[in-house]
């Protein structure tokens, strides 16, 4: 059987993106939605290719890791991008209203193509094993997200969200680069493997400077994964951005941030003196993020903003996992949690977009009476919300369970206690949505809600996976890295 190198995957994704851009430029009369279908098809082909991988040549290993974790997150990025494109097709009429253009559909093409390039960046991040590579991949993702967040140029909320994301994203880039500088200065290397070697060789190499460098990198990655106290951009950006971009941002960007975080801290955890301080810092971050995310979510009335705070809260649970990374089961717990997070977040957004389109807004009040108006959509939203809250027999419950188990093994009892209390808070605000759907009367002028066949298929698929993995996690756990 013909085998391909993992390096070819990203190149294929970039080629798909360039091909779509060309098609957009040269076929003037093309229906722009065809670009999205083309993108979905191209990414599905690349997804199939990930199952026929051969190891990369040794020379590349210094900056490109093609281990099972990397391959898993490449598939994760591809799946996330495909779902984003499905959301974008559903959301296209809204975007069309808010971009200036003389012809119908003008300027819509890039909206479907940019996620493909972001996907390439996410895939490179999944494999990056050198700070130069981490930086370049991270920036490819971040810069293409700037454009996507600010995409609706006639909508002030979108522009404002884009500006805020631009300034805070660039600030975190500044911290990242300056932190890397100090790590390089103290070890003389940019590759993670070589840094690990240098650290074991000179364990005393000026600790203060090294800790300063790691601290700055941690701050920058804290911005990317939305950890408190670096989370203040999240609610505004999530609310203002076009909804498919919000979904992509909350899943893709966060997952890639966590892969990079796990890879970056690994060499430093091997040094005992740094290990203690790093784990303490991660514990503080996790605790703060859990408390802030869950408490601030409670009074929200806008569903997109609520999901923004919920994304901060989930970053907190994942950070508990990262802080317990000394335990052998923590890595798998984080990966499982991220997989579950992808399923339930995209399901929530798949329901949100058609409902918001029909109701003309994305407040929780717009979901009033959805249980009777559109029982299918309401059921999907119910599954997603219960899973996000962590009800047993859903993937969200098992994710939290594995994370807490790893934390117990590392004896982070305080974190587990905070975690359990905040899960209880979580039930309150997720069930607010459920209450609106089933116990509130529908507004009198509510029109029918149209859902395309593709969205219906994707939502059914995700809801089924949430329940199946929630009840039979064994087969999935076995194939996780």
């Amino acid at each position: 059987m013909a085998m391909i190198s993992a390096l070819a995957l990203e190149i294929c994704v970039v080629c798909v993106g360039i091909f779509l851009l060309m098609a957009d430029a040269f076929y003037v009369h093309l229906d722009k939605r065809a670009l999205a279908y083309g993108g979905i098809f191209g990414l599905l082909v690349v997804f199939a290719m990930t199952f026929f991988i051969e190891p990369v040549p040794k020379e590349y290993l210094a900056f490109y890791a093609d281990d099972s974790l990397g391959i898993f997150f490449k598939r994760f990025a591809l799946l996330g991008t495909i779902l984003t494109l499905i959301l974008s097709i559903e959301y296209a009429p809204v975007v069309e209203r808010f971009i200036p253009g003389s012809k119908p559909g003008a300027g819509l093409g890039e909206f479907f193509v940019l996620p493909v390039f972001t996907c390439a960046g996410l895939m490179w991040m999944a494999s990056a094993a050198d700070f130069v590579m981490i930086f370049c991949a991270l920036e490819l993702v971040t810069i293409s997200f700037y454009i996507q967040v600010a995409y609706m140029r006639k909508n002030q909320a979108s522009l404002e969200a884009g500006t805020k994301y631009l300034i805070l994203g660039a600030l975190s880039t500044g911290f990242l680069v300056y932190g890397i500088t100090w790590i390089y200065g103290m070890t003389g290397q940019t590759g993670l493997q070589k840094i690990s070697g240098a650290l074991l060789f000179f364990p005393q190499a000026s600790q203060t400077a090294l800790l300063f460098g790691i601290g700055l990198v941690l701050v920058a990655l804290g911005f990317k994964v939305a950890a408190a106290p670096f989370q203040f951009w999240v609610p505004d950006v999530y609310q203002g951005a076009p909804t498919p971009v919000t979904a992509f941002l909350s899943v893709g960007s966060k997952a890639a941030g966590f892969v990079v975080l796990m890879r970056v801290i690994e060499p430093f955890l091997a040094v005992p003196v740094i290990n203690a301080k790093l784990v303490a810092a991660l514990q503080v971050l996790a605790g703060l993020t859990l408390i802030y995310g869950n408490l601030a979510a409670m009074p929200q009335t806008n569903l997109k903003r609520l999901l923004g705070y919920s994304s901060i809260a989930h970053a907190g649970y994942l950070l508990v996992g990262v802080a317990s990374v000394g335990s052998p089961s923590a890595g798998r717990a984080i990966v499982f949690y991220l997989l579950g997070y992808l399923l339930m977040t995209f399901l929530a957004f798949l329901v949100l977009i058609p409902v918001a389109k029909a109701a003309g807004g994305d407040d929780i009040a717009h979901f009033n009476g959805l249980g009777r108006r559109a029982p299918g959509l309401a059921l999907a939203m119910l599954i997603s919300m219960l899973s996000l809250a962590g009800l047993p027999f859903t993937v969200g419950f098992l994710g939290k369970f594995f994370i807490f188990e790893a934390a117990m093994r590392e004896q982070h009892y305080a974190l587990v206690a905070i975690g359990v209390v905040t899960v209880a808070c979580g039930f309150y605000y997720y069930l607010k949505v459920v209450r609106a759907m089933y116990w509130q009367p529908a507004p009198a002028d509510a029109g029918p809600i149209e859902v395309s066949a593709l969205t219906r298929f994707a939502a059914t698929f995700l809801a089924a996976l949430i329940l199946i993995i929630g009840i039979f996690p064994k087969p999935i756990l076995q194939i996780l890295p």
Partner: protein, 106 residues
């Protein structure tokens, strides 16, 4: 003869000026200049570290020098996108002050 410490002090100063500019100034264009200053501070200390810590062969560490080129390129891309967003914002709101960005409020 300037030593490594001199370069690091200048670089630290640049980083601090950039960071303070981001935190204290209210004009988005000035904030953006501060951000670019922070990236250049990193460039300066990278080159200084690579010059003063030569490898086994006596040559400066090349990975830092290559990294600087990547940082310069990425910074240029960031400016291109960033200024486009700021121009679009100015067209929509006729302002570049952060206090006027108040559509999204809790």
């Amino acid at each position: 003869m300037p030593t490594l410490a001199h370069y690091l002090f200048v670089s630290g100063g640049l980083f601090a000026i950039g960071l303070l500019g981001v935190l204290l100034r209210r004009n988005i264009l000035i904030i953006f200049m501060g951000l670019e200053l922070m990236l250049n501070a990193a460039n300066l200390s990278l080159v200084a570290f690579s010059r003063f810590h030569p490898g086994h062969d006596g040559l400066p560490g090349y990975s830092a020098q290559v990294f600087v080129f990547f940082i310069i390129t990425v910074a240029a891309a960031e400016v291109a996108v960033g200024l486009a967003i700021i121009v679009a914002l100015f067209r929509a709101k006729q302002t570049t002050h952060v206090e006027d960005l108040d559509t999204l409020k809790f």
